[in-house]
């Protein structure tokens, strides 16, 4: 998530100091570099677009209020920001299980509308589209039911497609821990999805 500082990309600690003093341009540069990844992480962890928006807003507000606590020598700004976001995610998920809300207008949860659009573009039949939508929804629910530490690893490595190293930096843990959590998270997902399969898998002795 970090970039080499240049004249066009000043160091992030410098940008943060300027943003904390009220310089909008500096803040916008930080915000646009990190907001999408942060939003998707919060969305995949909580299952709620509304919660994800709140978490992004709260995280950047906390960043501005605690700008003096950031030490560039200890890690990248993205990791510092992620640490705050994780705390806000935990506060929300501690209140209850992850939500799987539908909008009042009957809009499908995140992750399903794009499938409808893709199907319309690719000429996928309604039956295939419905099957694909259901498949995606099953995986989404299974991810939301994972214990938090496994869900984080799956959200970053499998859904955001980060490397083990990138995820370990963001979560401030050893790479081995990421591997272990990802492996166990995938095992739980596989078990959950096996249960949801319409037909049991046939095991053939070769």
């Amino acid at each position: 998530m970090g970039t080499m500082p240049t004249a066009q990309n000043p160091p992030e600690d410098d940008l943060l100091r300027r943003a904390a003093r009220g310089e909008e341009a500096a803040f916008v540069q930080i915000y646009r570099a990190h907001q999408a990844t942060l939003y998707r992480f919060a969305l995949r962890m909580t299952g709620s677009a509304w919660n994800a928006e709140e978490i992004v807003q709260e995280s950047f507000m906390a960043l501005l209020r605690n700008a003096e606590r950031y030490d560039a020598s200890r890690g990248e700004l993205g990791a510092f920001l992620f640490g705050m976001a994780r705390n806000f995610v935990r506060k929300r998920t501690a209140r209850g299980p992850a939500e799987l809300p539908f909008a009042d207008d009957g809009e499908l949860p995140f992750g399903t509308s794009a499938a409808a659009h893709a199907g319309a573009r690719g000429g996928v039949s309604p039956a295939e589209l419905a099957e694909q939508t259901q498949r995606i929804e099953q995986v989404r629910r299974a991810v939301l039911e994972l214990p938090e530490e496994f869900r984080e690893a799956v959200a970053l490595c499998d859904l955001e497609e980060m490397s083990y190293e990138e995820a370990a930096k963001l979560l401030d843990c050893p790479i081995g821990t990421i591997r272990s959590r990802l492996h166990r998270g995938r095992a739980l997902l596989a078990a959950q999805l096996e249960i949801l399969r319409e037909r049991p898998r046939k095991v053939v002795n070769r």
Partner: protein, 219 residues
């Protein structure tokens, strides 16, 4: 396998999988060969492999669905306003403290002006600057009074602040500032209580001694 490679156990295969190595991925040729040979003879690992491949496919589907998600623009707009509030007013020397001092100074000038005007001739109106409705009387905070002030400023004219002294010389300056309607009220302008927290852009006509004398509301 040509018989020389070491046979892979179930635990070794799962360890490779856990470390992200798989055929066609990070596994080297020897690992790949041992892997495939093991799967050919182990039903449970073959089932495990099939499950993992299906899981990866479904996770990639979910990833693709949400890959373009990002925070809506209103979040950026809201945060930018918060950041702007952190800094000093960039274009005007009139920050909130400065305005408070200016109000106190204006109040002192008002007292002096009332005393002076009691013994002076009526002041001729300055072109483009309207005198306050009554001298010495506190402005009434009412919808009609506020609307009247806004109508005057909407016409491009400055409205004299209570106690303000018209100045048709060249020593005046116009400062454009962003402040809350409550600040206008503290300068003696009529303000609707319900809208007191609303931010507005105004021009302040400032005399040579730095005191605001009149205000023009910008739309």
């Amino acid at each position: 396998m040509n018989g020389n490679e070491k046979a892979m156990s179930c635990e070794e295969l799962q360890k490779l999988a856990m470390n992200g190595k798989q055929p066609g991925g990070a596994a080297n040729d020897a690992e790949h060969a041992a892997w495939e040979a093991h799967l050919a003879h182990c039903a449970s690992c073959a089932a495990y492999q099939e499950t993992q491949l299906e899981l990866r496919t479904r996770l990639r589907e979910l990833a693709a669905e949400t890959a373009a998600e990002q925070a809506p623009w209103r979040i950026e707009a809201l945060l930018r306003r918060e950041v702007a509030a952190l800094g000093p007013r960039k274009e005007s020397p009139w920050n909130r403290r400065g305005l408070a001092l200016a109000v106190l100074a204006a109040a002192a000038v008002l007292v002096a002006a009332v005393v002076l005007r009691q013994s002076s001739q009526p002041v001729a109106p300055v072109a483009g600057v309207q005198p306050p409705p009554s001298i010495g009387a506190p402005p009434e905070i009412s919808d009609s009074a506020e609307a009247a002030a806004e109508n005057a400023t909407a016409a491009g004219d400055f409205v004299l602040l209570p106690g303000g002294i018209p100045d048709d010389g060249d020593d005046s300056a116009i400062l454009r500032v962003r402040l809350q309607r409550a600040d206008l009220g503290s300068m003696g302008m009529p303000v609707n209580e319900e809208a007191s927290g609303e931010w507005v852009l105004v021009d302040l006509l400032v005399s040579a001694d730095g005191q605001p004398q009149a205000v023009r509301l910008l739309r």
